[in-house]
Symmetry: C5
Subunit: 323 residues, 5 copies
């Protein structure tokens, strides 16, 4: 649908368009640095990948397929890297990921994605403005793309952070059914993030440790730096998980405590009222001969007794620290 092409050769202008024939010659010559960024590649563009860059059929399949896991695969003429970008959905702010496929060859790098990716866009712009960046070789461009892609994980974490602090405040103050639903939504997002970050981290670690034909050894320390960022992100998410689990435990304890409070209130009211009601019941019986009934002060004596019982109960509950 939309593609960007950049070709840099020492001491020359940045080339932004070329014929397939020219491209073929460049690939063959192995000179200069070519960056091809493809957004929703069309049939004709896929043909270029197949015929000019000579990508393996399995690679082409993975480029179209959008549920490939992060991975690194090495072929004779290029290496293939799948990595994912993260963003949040517009309104509900749920986490989502976009797949980025990268082919890195001797003098070219191809980035293929089915949706616009912020990190890739930034990298393309930066390179267009300052094409001297390309002089360091395609592996340096790979670092640039992955680095700005990983930098774009941070806003996603910030959204998560805000949600979790919000939940914690709710739980400590006055948790409701909504709090519970928020907890479960956050839990799901964190699960998703953890499953998503893990393989990215492994892939980048792999880039920083193994020897690859098309990555210069001195570039590794830069990937190591990106890897350190990934570790930090991973730690943060682990922290989120622990905090949200703690919040869930707190929620359950609070509900438990609240049931306790309600039970206490019910028991206090019943324990005070029932004996008093019994006494009124006794003096409400229609026996013709009952003590006190006919006497003037009878009612007042019974009333005082009831008062004493009521107050006694209250004192008892006070002592038990129920009220």
């Amino acid at each position: 649908m939309a593609s960007t092409l950049m070709y840099y050769k020492e001491n020359k202008e940045l080339v932004k368009e070329m014929t397939n024939e020219e491209m073929k010659n460049i690939i063959k010559s192995g000179e200069g640095v070519l960056w091809l960024d493809l957004l929703k590649p069309e049939k004709s563009e896929m043909d270029i990948l197949e015929n000019i860059f000579e990508l393996h059929p399995l690679t082409l399949e993975d480029c179209i397929n959008t549920i490939t896991r992060p991975k690194i695969e090495q072929f004779d003429n290029y290496m293939f890297i799948v990595i994912h970008a993260a963003s949040t959905t517009p309104r509900s702010q749920r986490v989502r990921t976009i797949e980025l496929n990268v082919c890195l060859g001797k003098n070219f790098i191809i980035t293929i994605h089915q949706e616009p990716i912020k990190g890739v866009g930034t990298a393309v712009e930066r390179t267009q403005k300052n094409h001297q960046i390309m002089s360091k070789g395609p592996d340096s461009l790979l670092h640039l793309v992955i680095d700005s892609l990983v930098d774009n994980y941070i806003p996603v974490l910030d959204v998560m952070d805000y949600k979790i602090s919000n939940i914690e405040t709710q739980v400590l103050a006055n948790p409701t059914q909504k709090t519970l639903n928020d907890i479960f939504a956050a839990k799901k997002d964190i699960l998703y993030l953890r499953r998503f970050i893990g393989p990215q981290r492994d892939t980048i670690n792999f880039l920083s440790k193994e020897n690859f034909q098309f990555i210069h050894n001195k570039r590794k320390v830069y990937f190591r730096d990106v890897y350190d960022n990934m570790i930090f992100i991973n730690d943060t998410i682990d922290n989120y998980r622990d905090v949200i689990n703690g919040a869930f435990d707190a929620y359950l304890s609070k509900v438990s405590d609240r049931t306790n409070e309600i039970m206490k209130m019910l028991t206090i009211i019943a324990t005070i009222m029932m004996p008093l009601t019994l006494i009124t019941g006794v003096y409400g019986m229609n026996f013709s001969h009952m003590p006190l009934l006919k006497w003037h002060g009878g009612f007042y004596i019974v009333f005082v007794v009831m008062l004493f019982i009521g107050i006694g109960m209250l004192v008892y509950f006070k002592r038990k620290e129920w009220i």
Copy 2:
């Protein structure tokens, strides 16, 4: 019970029947590609496996036995692979598995199963229609069989997916005893799937990494592709497990909250009614001398007092956000 035989030799017609003698010669010669698919093999067919293909007694035993775990075993003249297909039972849609035994030799592949397997059927048909597939050698047929077998895991996952979404909706809306039973059934299915997928994944990973006598090195990248599918399936199931566990936690919290609601209602009604009943009890006592009783406005005063108490209680509960 039912067997399919296909023999392909370059530039020749596909042979679909042959005598045991011919088969023996083909195995000896090591030329062409022979595929023997056995469904519920009879005694005579087992004899062919034993005498013509010279399978090890332990292999023959495993072919009859239907509770073998996925594995790869290497013998001098062939390698033996056990792998499982997945399907669902007709009505209750519970997950079940069918065992597939494969023997891969220099120029032959044997597939043995006790029940029809959809993935194998598809592969056989595809080969019969286009027997050029066989020209790539028996290891390519192995990939074909395993690939279409793994593809048939997806519908099973879809059934699972539907069940779990259903449970989640129920839990968030109005969970009942049936929801609980559904959760436990789903949990059991997921446990079963996890235990079933794990060894398949390891077996296929093994195929994509190790060197085997009868598998060409360039075939490995294809098994690696199947392995990536298995990883994706595995991740999906892990996700199901986490979601169902979350649903169970949500169910328990909902029940807990509901008990709380019921307790609140009981406490509210008791706390309002009991004091009022006590007052009626007091004025129901048969003392001959009681204040207000004889007075015209007595009843109305008491009634107003009761009204105030009742309303006061309601206001109190409103303030506590119970109602």
Copy 3:
């Protein structure tokens, strides 16, 4: 207490008795195959082990001691294997284990146990009936003994299976205190089985993988077969554990639900009865001047009002789906 001796030499009769002197010569010569099965060995038999077979003091100690863990130890003149048989206690059907000590030398195998073991008995009988089995060497006898010992784990699993299905049925239908006790008993048994199976599996895996002086390499594939059985048994027990944990969760949820049901009933009855009782209380007060009291239709009006309130409450609970 009871010992069985079998000595096989090619083309000769099976020898079932011999003097210590003869035994010593056989061990020295390294010819033929000798099997000595000792049940509760006496002092004189332990002396034979020490002096004729020249077992290490630590081995002799382990043979008497009945709480040795499964293990394999190699000495110069023999290897020492400890493995456990499983059975169930007669009435309560709880799982128990019996220790079997095996010494495997160049031309002898010694099996020592303090109680009769079904698997060993079967193996001895089979060998006595068909002593050609012995011609394959002592390592083949080791496989025979371990294989029939592992086969005897299956009935123990069947008992477990029956118990667990029984618990599941109870939990889904109408769980009682007895169900809870059954769950905890089953949990303990499964814990015991898991702790018991683990080391057996490792020991057998070791036999199938490592190189041992007295085990022929071509025998390994047979031990691998026994190992596959152990894996299957292990998986089954893991499954039992998951199922019983699920059953426990279900039990707790059911109790929770039931408390809920009871609370609902109490709340319904209290919520209907209390307001009605309050009304009767009001008209039971002894005020001399109260509306309706003296009027003929008064009672009926109040009665109808009470009826409406009662029915209204029922409708309300029906709407809330409580009844």
Copy 4:
């Protein structure tokens, strides 16, 4: 504070006292076997360790410090082993540990501890009675000390075993608040034991597997034997943990069941009494015109109706299996 010295040389008397000069010569010569057991070593004794045995400053620090973890450290002229003994406190029978520091050189062994250790005491006595033990070298003494130290773990386990059986009986019969406190105390002890046994086991495993300058290879099988004991002890403690967790789960379930029972009782009594009380309330109203009131048989009819309602409720609860 108290030190024991033993020096053994072939065909000579056991020397129990010597000057620092003599000691220095013995260490230099590398002949015979010297055992120095130091309880709360004084400054002068520490000086001997520093100057005569030439221990590393870090070793000397660890010997005074009592919170060192079990470990093995190798120096040029000796190896340093830290291991812990277990015992129980006199009254409350809580688990505690005592640190033992051992230095093993070519012809000497030094055991240093800040409190008397039963296992070490036994080993010293045994050696004094039969000093031929020392002829096997200092590594044999190391085994002797560690073996008798590990043997002294068993009484600690027995105390634990008694406590846990006691808890289990309580939980199954009639759990109280005390049971709960016992469970938490036992849990803490088991946590402590697990953390304490783990590193000991690793240390002894290390002794039985690695090659050390001052430990003869044929001694390893003995350390392996001690290691097997440690594994057994470890398994036992794991078992305790599982049992106590099971007991805690059982406790919670019992409390849950009990709440259920209490709720049932309350609901039964309220459900029977409330409607009957309502009826009495109705006939207690002071309407001048009410049916049945004036009639002779009125009371009996109402009474019979109440009886029917009461019995009917009981039958209903019987059917629901509540009583």
Copy 5:
């Protein structure tokens, strides 16, 4: 903001100030030992790091950035170590960490931090007082800094210890909502400590095991000693986690038990009062013809019956051990 410089050369005075030129020469010569401690380094100081010490751009970035994870990175001319100090916030005593960046070269060590660190301060002072310490080389200074930094973890643990003992006492005596909040705060602190200690431990372990260009092999045993301290600290924190989890379980059980107690009380009062109230209700009915009503002893008989019922109920609950 504030920097300390120390330069030691054998048999010379400690140099505390020098020009950039002198510094450059010292670095080049590789002679003597230079320690540069930078607190909130200014631009000019960062320039020295970049130009004179020739630090890698990534190192410079990490020195300014305060969220770097503990790590060791090796460059040609120096190694870079990030490690964290621990302290507690003034009032609420929550745990916090401060990052320390260390660059260790052939004859220099640079310590960079954005806030004052107690451990570093102590080390600087000790060195200023006795500059002979510097004669052992920069790796010895590294040990000095890390050792005193790790020593400063202990007061943080003490604060934690006090908090947890406090919680345990509360839970066993009379847990309140505040206890719950304290438990969750402590849990969060422990989570934080665990996440913080883990990487420090790994980093120090790395220092004690691997070979580094600028760390002398004989220094490793000292780092091993620091590592042992870290293990001890780690064990202590694991212990805290287990204790706080136990306290949380205890809290929940206590709340559960308390609900039980409340329910019991409610049930006892209702079970005694309701039947008695029913009896008074019966004799409060206005039937003109009822037994006992007109008889003198009627009331007393009914009263005695009620007394019997009440006492009978109490005896019943006594037997059930409810009171």
